[in-house]
Symmetry: C2
């Protein structure tokens, strides 16, 4: 029976792909969701994994568990290699997948704007492995600094540069500064806290550019109170692993750079033959259809569409989810022979949290900040998490950290967590020798 | 002031090293604990990480958090390279560490008895990375099998061979079989459960060799009920990643082999110049001192000592902990000029759990099995875990899995979780291509 139903293939188990698959649960189609991971990642809390507040497992949920009761659903763990739009075939690492309808929700990836040295030596924050790498690096720098006799080298180990004043950069630098001030200073009483700097580098003169001016100022003020040094109008041009070089030549000695300054659509969409907009996003039609291909929809971070004022729709979960609903509804309409409708985005507002008791929120023209906004942020993110167990675990971890001024998950994973049996077991010492060995192997 | 105090260096943050450091908290010495990890790992529950029941973070605790309030304590994250016994210096990857007293508690590592092919292609269960690698492999085999059209190849993907009928092998195979029967069959309704086999290979004719006969039989019976095929008198001679070859030539087609058949002392002790006993363990004196070196104690898995009946003390946490207490007391006695005493092991009994509602226990000559032993096992392990937060999280995970017949942590980590920034971000597709790439890189 499922063979006779139209086959809807969805690429990506992010907010968009998940929502589209779910929206089609009562539609007489067969759904196949393809992703290279077997889990959905709740990306908005990724920075809390990077700053040792949450375990990776707290914010990830197996795709098969989410859809266990959906009968018209199948999952395929595979890398997507390309799309044969005319032939209606999705090329994957485990073989071809023919489709009647395709919803592409592959999301975004980091954009280093050609700064190879930053890409090579810096860290990013797009997936679980990134977040664990950041956690490893920060904790390792403290363990290394406490054994370093040279004051200059020690200070460089304790300088943490975050690049980009958007939500990721603001949230990461705030959480990082708190991890250091509230927790690591107790772990390392021998280190001088004055040697520790968290520096947020932003190219323009504003943080959280999409927020109204008052909230942008509040954000800068809160970061200042949390000992984050914000450098406006500063651009990183090079990072060799020891020195961050800014445009103009200024050098910040630092061993850690976290890149939160640019995202772009997954390169998969480059091969669609469609016109691309800013950030490599596909310029879709008003219906979210790929130009020239009625059976292919592109949604979420990978799609470029403007609102009524001509501003690009942001790369955020609510956009992806509303577009997912729209694409699913469009397939239903098409199956009924009805004409498709244009997508219209309803902005639910935006928020950012900046550590303990502090957040900013802009909802329906109203501006909130401080403790109230922070509590609203907590409640909203608990509600949005998938699965009762994840909610409970995140809640426990938050309560623990809040009341005890702790970050419990400060573990340095020394070796790769990978599938290859032999590689996984090969010794990787945790110190400088290990890093060198890893670099050689990589 | 600390400089004037005798310096006690402890190697290893396992059960022995941790206990020794704690036992010295009120002694007028300065303690330095050296480990290549920054956390203590609760190894008895490692197999539950491997079978997707617990997160790695649930059973690991940062060393600095454990000792935050101990004033005479310092931690050094470093690899131990060797010991200059005569010069009283510990050589580490971050420099030399002079000591007045040394307590070596480096633990054990896997012993493949020269079976290179097994070491190369099999998986082990000694640390967190091992456990995550097993979890990755098992889940990945299901994801691969469900896409595999060839029946023979599919069955090989669904054969899981566990080698070794000791506690690790018994507990792993039981938990693995339950993960498959209770959870994965629901995730993969298209797979035929009859294609799935968990095979426990044991060279002798008994499981849990240290247990009394009745409990050994109960163990075999419980495993049989849980669909684990136990192969007695069978020895693995080769594993190429596709076929497990037994002595005599029999071949089991399987893509997964978990090695739980041999441990030996950390090779670090090979360089001490002391006589080694079975499993590479150092033949220590009755006082736990290294022969010919009064200021060096060796404890735990790395030390070889016999009980009154001439049987080797087992490589288990209680032995390490009692020896740690003894070594700490010995240092106190030596500081007071009193003679050292012989170590005497008080056997607290042993237990093993074999999945839901089933465990065997041998305590003070009494034998328990079934539900009561299982509850006792649960309570004991919760109590033994370090930290209220870890206890709470493990308890929640256990309750969740027990009542919902679930294993929530079934995530495949696709890429290494490593410190090297560039390596951590490099794309590692999750499929066969990725495995090949990883092998090339390794």
């Amino acid at each position: 029976m499922p063979e006779e139903r139209p086959h809807v293939v969805i690429v990506g188990a992010g907010f968009g792909g998940l929502r589209a698959a779910r929206a089609l649960r009562r539609t007489p189609v067969q759904v196949t969701l393809v992703d290279r991971r077997n889990y959905h990642l709740f990306q908005p809390l990724l920075y809390q994994v990077a700053t040792a507040g949450l375990s990776p497992e707290d914010i990830a949920h197996p795709v098969r568990a989410i859809f266990r009761r959906q009968r018209n659903f199948a999952f395929r763990l595979a890398e997507v290699l390309g799309v044969d739009v005319a032939g209606r075939v999705l090329r994957t690492s485990t073989g071809d997948l023919p489709f009647d309808w395709l919803i592409l929700a592959p999301g975004g990836t980091n954009n280093f704007f050609g700064l190879d040295s930053v890409e090579e030596n810096g860290l990013a924050l797009k997936d679980i492995e990134d977040a664990v790498a950041v956690r490893n690096q920060v904790l390792r720098m403290f363990e290394t600094a406490v054994q370093e006799p040279d004051a200059d080298r020690r200070r460089a180990m304790l300088n943490f540069v975050v690049v980009g004043g958007g939500p990721t950069g603001v949230e990461s630098s705030g959480a990082l500064s708190e991890l250091i001030r509230l927790v690591l200073t107790k772990d390392f009483p021998d280190l001088n806290v004055k040697d520790v700097r968290v520096i947020l580098v932003e190219a323009t003169d504003r943080l959280l550019g999409a927020m109204p001016e008052r909230l942008r100022e509040v954000t800068a003020e809160i970061l200042w109170r949390k000992h984050v040094e914000v450098r406006f109008g500063a651009q990183v041009t090079r990072f060799d692993g020891e020195r961050v070089v800014l445009r103009g030549g200024e050098v910040i000695p630092a061993r850690t750079l976290i890149w939160a300054a640019g995202v772009r659509a997954e390169p998969l969409v480059d091969g669609l033959g469609a016109p691309l907009g800013p950030q490599g996003r596909v310029r879709v039609r008003e219906t979210l259809q790929l130009p020239g291909a009625d059976r292919v929809f592109v949604i979420g971070d990978a799609a470029y569409l403007e609102d009524d004022q001509g501003a690009a729709l942001p790369m955020m979960a609510p956009v992806a989810q509303q577009q997912a609903d729209h694409a699913a509804r469009s397939i239903v309409r098409a199956l009924r022979g009805e004409p498709l409708q244009s997508f219209r985005y309803r902005n639910p507002g935006s928020m950012a949290t900046i550590g303990r008791n502090a957040a900013v929120a802009h909802v329906k023209g109203l501006q909130f900040s401080g403790f109230f906004a922070w509590v609203a942020w907590l409640v909203l993110h608990i509600v949005l998490l998938i699965g009762f167990r994840n909610r409970l675990l995140v809640l426990i971890n938050w309560a623990w950290d809040y009341f005890l001024y702790d970050r419990a998950v400060r573990l340095i994973h020394a070796r790769e967590m990978h599938t290859g049996p032999a590689e996984a077991r090969r010794a990787h010492p945790t110190d400088a020798a290990g890093e060198a060995a890893a670099k050689k192997a990589g």
